[in-house]
């Protein structure tokens, strides 16, 4: 074990994988300069500009180029600086990358990795703060990982690079600089496996990304009230580890889902639907969802703070679930 921030762990994972496999290449805006958060810092020194390729502001075409690289057998890791700009690359991602294998009857494979980050809280406004992972999870052919820890940010990235089909990793900018424990050396984390972050008897909280730590904090507070909370981090939302979630809820009888994205039509909707489908007779309370209100992300601090859900909203939802 060693200590590292998520951004450093991502950087290390890229370095490790590029060292291990000469086919791994990084491509995106300012990646040779390290990117705005430092995820690719120093890679160009060790691997050169052919493998750490700066691109102009052409997200759609850059995604398409990365797909072409993948079709040719390389393992591109393309960076979309903000998930808000993935809107410019969705034709390539959803229509080409996600469908190439299927449409070709299995002839083509697209070992593409997309790294991007979302999330609010840093006063950057409605176009730099979104959480759009639910869109991607609705596209057959894509896998979607949404790490909540430094170890997973690295581990899911490593697993994604070693996968022969497209994977999108949605990181959270507000978590990049927290110091955390990571395994040494970094190790792959299999796609499709949830992590039980805390065991508990009374309520299952399914939380993603930034809301995992928030939910753990809520759980600590609730423990003082005699409520024993289990916290599950799906880690990938596509594929979704339904088993781990459903079997937990079957035990606790209560479920709260928490994510940063807008609640309506978010990832929580799918999880709630699955839980009640598979464990209705165990439910002692409705599956409750914690997510952002149906509004763009405001920039002003008090508004953004009011917009963001966190430990308090999770705790309130857990208490509500307990009242049933």
């Amino acid at each position: 074990m060693s200590e590292m921030t998520p951004i450093r762990a991502i950087n290390q994972a890229l370095h490790d994988e590029m060292t291990r496999d000469g086919d791994v290449v990084v491509i995106g805006e300012d990646v040779a300069e390290g990117g705005p958060y430092g995820a690719t810092r120093g890679l160009v020194d060790d691997f050169g500009r052919d493998r750490v390729r700066d691109t102009p502001i052409s997200e759609g075409t850059v995604m398409g180029v990365a797909i072409g690289l993948a079709l040719a057998g390389l393992r591109p890791v393309v960076e979309i600086m903000f998930i808000d700009f993935i809107t410019l690359a969705l034709d390539q991602l959803a229509n080409q990358a996600a469908k190439a294998r299927y449409m070709s009857g299995g002839q083509l494979r697209v070992p593409l990795v997309v790294r991007t980050q979302g999330g609010a809280g840093v006063r950057s406004g409605a176009q730099h703060s979104q959480s759009l992972e639910a869109w991607l999870a609705h596209v057959p052919g894509l896998a979607v990982a949404i790490p909540a820890t430094a170890a997973d940010a690295a581990g899911l990235l490593i697993a994604a690079i070693r996968t022969d089909d497209p994977v999108v990793l949605v990181e959270n900018k507000a978590m990049y600089y927290r110091r955390e424990e990571v395994p040494d050396p970094l190790a792959p984390v299999p796609l499709g496996t949830a992590a039980v972050r805390r065991s508990g008897r009374d309520v299952t909280v399914v939380a993603t990304s930034r809301l995992v730590a928030e939910s753990l904090a809520a759980a600590d507070a609730l423990a003082g009230e005699g409520i024993d909370v289990e916290v599950i981090d799906p880690r990938t939302i596509q594929p979704l580890d339904e088993e781990t979630i459903v079997s937990s809820v079957a035990r606790t009888g209560r479920c709260v889902i928490a994510h940063e994205a807008v609640r309506a039509f978010g990832v929580g909707a799918e999880i709630a639907a699955v839980v009640q489908e598979r464990a209705l007779d165990r439910l002692q309370a409705p599956v409750l969802r914690v997510g952002a209100p149906f509004a763009p992300v405001p920039t002003s601090a008090p508004l953004e703070d009011a917009y963001l859900v966190g430990r308090e909203q999770v705790a309130a939802a857990v208490r509500e679930a307990m009242r049933w």
Binding site: T61, G64, A72, M103
Partner: protein, 322 residues
């Protein structure tokens, strides 16, 4: 820019054979659609066979090709088995893509046909990526992408011109400028008459040729292909051509007049090549007819194969998703 390339009787025969294969194939597709044996959204390239044949004649199986929604001829010219192409268009289990792709999504990896796409302009970035991989690996393989004049107004194409130029990619961009995007003439979509002009801005080598003169296309492409084979590029070749049928099978074609079609019928690329062969004394009508007959026989076989083939198994539905 066009350099002299030796034109042999053999080349003309080869091109004519490919072109007749494409023509006969699409006539058969049209017939099968009329007979309800083929359904879906099908775009025929009749009248545009010269470009497919001429470009493909420069390539071998290790070279890589992309195309768009009007791709039957490109796949055939690249070497795809007509029977399996027909089976794919007919949705059969024996199709290139096991019936999952259909007319707009032909792929034949064994012959380097990395595929057709239905989103206009979407194939160009993919071709760039494949070309970039060839360059980095110094494979000497050429990457070609076909697209229409309508794609030239799409952001993906325009961004791609910049990237192809910036990274000096060994890719040949082949624009089949048939003057229309669906039902609308090029003049309603842009003031830039020639697609090549757009590429010139980025310092990309270009040429505009009569697309219905297959030998001219072949000649014009030669230096571009040769450069790409050495890992150099990019280049854009604009082929002026015309589609003789509607945008898709079923299109009532109300947006252009008979006179225009007649002009282009007189410039049918197959007739042009046959006339050139006769004038050059390479071969006469008898040989041409033999080539045509052999193509038609091959296509009949393909159609018979396709229609006799089983339908895909419903269990395949969930295979190859990821």
């Amino acid at each position: 820019m066009a350099r002299h390339v030796e034109v042999s009787s053999d080349l003309a025969r080869r091109l004519l054979a490919t072109m007749w294969l494409c023509r006969a194939f699409e006539e058969k597709v049209s017939e099968l659609i009329a007979n309800n044996e083929i359904s879906g959204l099908v775009h025929l390239a009749m009248g545009q066979e010269g470009t497919a044949a001429a470009i493909a004649a420069h390539l071998d199986d290790r070279d890589l090709m992309f195309s768009g929604h009007r791709a039957h001829g490109h796949a055939l010219a690249k070497g795809a088995d007509p029977s399996r192409v027909m089976a794919e268009i007919a949705g059969r289990a024996t199709g290139l893509c096991r019936g999952k792709g259909g007319s707009m999504h032909l792929v034949d990896v064994a012959h380097g046909f990395l595929g057709a796409t239905g989103v206009v302009g979407g194939n160009v970035p993919n071709a760039l990526g494949v070309a970039l991989a060839q360059k980095q690996r110094r494979t000497g393989r050429v990457t070609v992408v076909f697209f229409g004049d309508g794609a030239a107004q799409a952001g993906h194409f325009l961004e791609s011109l910049n990237l192809a130029s910036l990274w000096e990619l060994p890719v040949v961009l082949v624009c089949e400028n048939n003057g229309y995007a669906e039902f609308t003439p090029r003049s309603a979509h842009t003031r830039v008459e020639r697609v090549a002009t757009l590429a010139t801005t980025y310092g990309i080598a270009t040429e505009t040729v009569e697309g219905n003169d297959a030998l001219a296309v072949h000649r014009a492409a030669a230096p571009f292909i040769a450069a790409a084979r050495e890992g150099k590029g990019p280049a854009l070749l604009e082929c002026l051509t015309y589609r003789m049928r509607g945008h898709y099978e079923g299109d009532a074609v109300k947006y252009r007049d008979a006179a225009e079609l007649d002009v282009w019928k007189a410039k049918d690329p197959l007739r042009i090549l046959e006339r050139q062969a006769a004038e050059a004394g390479w071969f006469g009508d008898a040989d041409a007819r033999a080539i045509e007959r052999s193509a038609r026989a091959r296509v009949d076989e393909a159609a018979a194969y396709a229609l006799a083939s089983p339908w895909p198994d419903a269990a395949w539905l969930m295979e190859d998703v990821r």
